[in-house]
């Protein structure tokens, strides 16, 4: 075996005088070898620095400043105190959490179920995959306008209301009804985004060795049992990863309230944290307050990410 015949690293070290020189030479060669890699990295690093890290740092700095008449001064935590005292602050967090939970229940579970169903199909798999993925190709704004003007029209002429009426079920005012705002946003968002998740799940499902299912079947496991004991454990890492990405993405929900609810919606029922940041920054001429709220959001999302990293590291 390789480990038995290989020479230990320490025994290959040259003797004293030549040691330093050899190390330097090796390091130099390593550097030269990797130079190409570093050169290619520069582009990515530059883009990250310019478009991600710099705005982030600038945002953090701005959150401790106040600008008036072109003069910027340091104000400590004033912006944070002010933003927390905004009557919409807790509403926005509550709405965001509600959206995230709903999106997790529907937008996370549904693609997994659809992927399992697609994976089980013997025929028309390709066509159905395309069908599921089609909404992802639509620009989000266009898809949301479709929902806004055709599906969620509060009159009986609206698509969903027409269907509900046909089924003799009570109709809804959709985005105009405070109670329906978030579920309606989640529905549109799930329809728009589930295609990508379905494809990822499908890829993961297809990597599960068929023998595992055969063994389970021989042991008398039914469909649900096979999903519970084979599919879920085998796709655990992908499930965890997508859950994390889903949480981080849905907590930044912005375009849905902006288009579907024309902003804050009925009595702030559509105000999310990201929309509140936008409102402070671009409607209230309060970029410093917006930056403070952005930093708070960053911390919350970082905490989620840390929990995820910890959990997945433990599992690995």
């Amino acid at each position: 075996m390789a480990t038995m015949t290989s020479v230990p690293e320490t025994s290959r070290k040259p003797l004293s005088g030549a040691y330093g020189k050899a190390t330097r030479t090796r390091r130099g060669r390593k550097m030269r070898d990797n130079l190409t890699g570093y050169a290619f990295l520069i582009g990515a690093i530059f883009c990250f620095a310019l478009f991600s890290w710099f705005p982030m740092i600038r945002g953090i700095v701005m959150s401790f400043q106040h600008t008036k008449r072109g003069v910027t001064s340091w104000v400590g935590f004033d912006n944070y105190v002010r933003i927390v005292q905004d009557p919409s602050f807790w509403t926005a967090w509550k709405n965001t959490a509600y959206f995230t939970v709903l999106a997790l229940v529907f937008g996370y579970v549904l693609p997994f179920v659809v992927a399992i169903l697609l994976n089980e199909l013997r025929h028309a798999k390709g066509y159905l995959r395309i069908l599921v993925y089609l909404p992802v190709i639509l620009p989000p704004a266009s898809a949301l306008f479709l929902f806004k003007y055709y599906a969620y029209d509060p009159s009986d002429a609206g698509l969903f209301n027409a269907i509900l009426k046909f089924l003799h079920l009570p109709t809804s005012e959709w985005m105009q009804s405070p109670g329906m705002t978030m579920p309606a946003m989640v529905l549109a968002s799930t329809w728009m985004n589930m295609g990508s998740a379905v494809l990822v799940y499908l890829a993961a499902l297809q990597n599960i060795p068929g023998e595992l299912y055969e063994a389970a079947e021989l042991d008398g496991a039914g469909l649900l049992r096979r999903i519970w004991n084979v599919t879920i454990p085998q796709t655990r890492l992908i499930l965890a990863l997508l859950a994390m990405l889903q949480i981080v993405a849905t907590m930044q929900v912005f375009i849905e309230p902006l288009i579907l609810a024309n902003g804050a919606g009925t009595q702030d029922s559509a105000t999310t944290v990201a929309y509140l940041i936008y409102q402070h920054g671009f409607f209230q001429n309060d970029l410093n307050g917006a930056a403070a709220l952005g930093v708070i959001m960053l911390l919350v999302l970082a905490a989620f990410s840390a929990v995820y990293v910890r959990l997945t590291t433990k599992q690995d």
Binding site: P154, Q176, A261, F283
Partner: protein, 460 residues
């Protein structure tokens, strides 16, 4: 070439390319040439009509050419920022990003945020009869709107006051007298009920409640009740009172008491005007040029629309909202650029017979001529007389539809300080009564008051 060498060359090319791009980015954007080129003064000006407004764009470009011919030492570089030259979030983004043109368009409500951005130039020493020949005729009240601490920061180029626009066709169908439009909010309610009874998805009365426009109209309707948005010292909200409650109660009564406002709410500017152009709106509060948008952007008809003064609660309105727009100047301009900018604005916006007042050109293009707007010049001034004469000589729309509005002036009140931010807050109160049958008006106003006071405190 071996693979590693090939890679090295590719990497070197990449680094060199990036280096060049960085250099290009860091190069100062031809600052000097933008101020003067070949001995000419160069200025950039925004709000050029966009490609979809063919006649207006041609007029603008022709005007630029004519101006440059008259002033061979000046070059105008036009920039289009969309049909709505000041969409608040876009405007704020451009202002914050420092990408405004040398001479830039803004609403009267933008003065504070332009000053806060530190980008506006005090043009007091430049603006006079020498640079703008009609300056002495410009309504002093409009000049005051763009003046802060005795310093002039912008030149007004348009103003408006609000009234009640109504669809004559729907009025007639509903058995209402087109010559006798509603005078009070009770009349509006009764008429809206009759118009909505026509069915077909027609809203008797329609109202905004999103995109800052809800707050804008709340303000106009509060003025009609005799109220005000802020206390006299601009330090506190002053709408959580009987007048504010009455505004919301009127709307709630029409929306849920009579179901006369249609089912679609959370409307903003384009939504309402699209419905109006489609013959689905009986009445709405607006300025005269709302009809221009209805006709030119949303394919409605001038003949259908008439305008009355804003209704009051028990009699005539106690006030109406006046607003408008103007052009600011970037603070880093040279004196030559400021003078060139002022000359251009004088040419395009403040000279009877030219630019926006070239009614002889506008008439055959079916641009509206005859609207009681913009009322830029003071009553009795020379410029006003010329402008009115030209307007009458070229009118191409039924001016009698606006006669009542013109003949019944209502005291005009300007927009409050920090208007756009306050309008955003008040949208919530408006959407509350228009989408929730159980909305608690007291609570809505209380919340809006708290937010407004906080906003004012943070803007100190």
């Amino acid at each position: 070439m071996s693979v590693p060498q090939y890679r090295k060359v590719a990497a070197l090319a990449l680094v060199a390319g990036l280096g060049f791009s960085l250099t290009a980015c860091s190069t100062k954007s031809d600052d000097d040439t933008s101020k003067s080129a070949g001995g000419k003064t160069v200025i950039t000006v925004d709000c050029q009509p966009d490609g979809s407004q063919k006649d207006l764009l041609k007029n603008w470009n022709d005007d630029v050419a004519a101006f440059e011919k008259e002033n061979p030492d000046v070059t105008i570089k036009s920039v289009s920022v969309g049909q709505q030259c000041d969409n608040p979030p876009d405007f704020t983004a451009r202002l914050t990003g420092g990408t405004m043109t040398d001479v830039f368009y803004g609403y009267m409500t933008d003065l504070q945020q332009v000053l806060d951005s530190g980008q506006a130039m005090d043009i007091s020493q430049y603006v006079s009869k020498d640079t703008i020949p009609t300056w002495d005729s410009v309504d002093p009240a409009l000049k005051a709107v763009f003046t802060d601490d005795n310093k002039v920061y912008a030149v007004p180029t348009k103003n408006y006051s609000m009234g009640l626009l109504y669809n004559k066709t729907l009025f007639t169908k509903a058995g209402l007298d087109v010559a006798n439009p509603p005078k009070t909010w009770a009349d509006v309610r009764a008429a809206a009920k009759k118009i909505s009874a026509l069915g077909g998805g027609v809203a008797g009365y329609s109202e905004y409640s999103a995109g800052n426009t809800g707050g804008w109209h709340f303000t106009a309707e509060l003025y009609s009740q005799g109220g005000q948005i802020l206390s006299a010292d601009n330090k506190k909200a002053d709408f959580n009172n009987a007048q504010g409650k009455q505004v919301l109660q009127n709307l709630k009564d029409m929306r849920y008491g009579d179901n006369s406002m249609g089912s679609r709410q959370l409307l903003q500017w384009g939504d309402l005007l699209t419905n109006a152009a489609g013959g689905k709106v009986g009445m709405f509060v607006g300025a005269p040029d709302a009809t221009t948008a209805i006709v030119q952007t949303f394919q409605g008809k001038y003949d259908e629309w008439a305008m009355a003064p804003l209704p009051g609660q028990d009699g005539a309105a106690k006030g109406t909202l006046g607003g408008g727009e103007g052009y600011f100047f970037r603070k880093d301009l040279t004196p030559e650029q400021v003078k060139a900018g002022l000359k251009w604005i004088a040419f395009e916006k403040l000279t009877p017979g030219k630019g926006q007042f070239d009614y002889a050109r506008a008439k055959p293009q079916n641009q509206p001529v005859g609207l009681p707007q913009p009322l830029l010049f003071a009553n009795g001034s020379d410029a006003q007389k010329q402008e009115v004469d030209l307007r009458k000589a070229n009118q191409n729309l039924p001016t009698e539809n606006f006669a009542l509005f013109e003949a019944t002036p209502v005291p005009i009140k300007g927009e409050p300080a920090n208007a756009q931010a306050i309008y955003a807050v008040l949208d919530s109160a408006m959407s509350g009564v228009l989408t929730n049958p159980n909305a608690n008006i007291d609570e809505l106003l209380k919340t809006a008051e708290t937010k407004t006071n906080q906003l004012l405190a943070s803007n100190k």
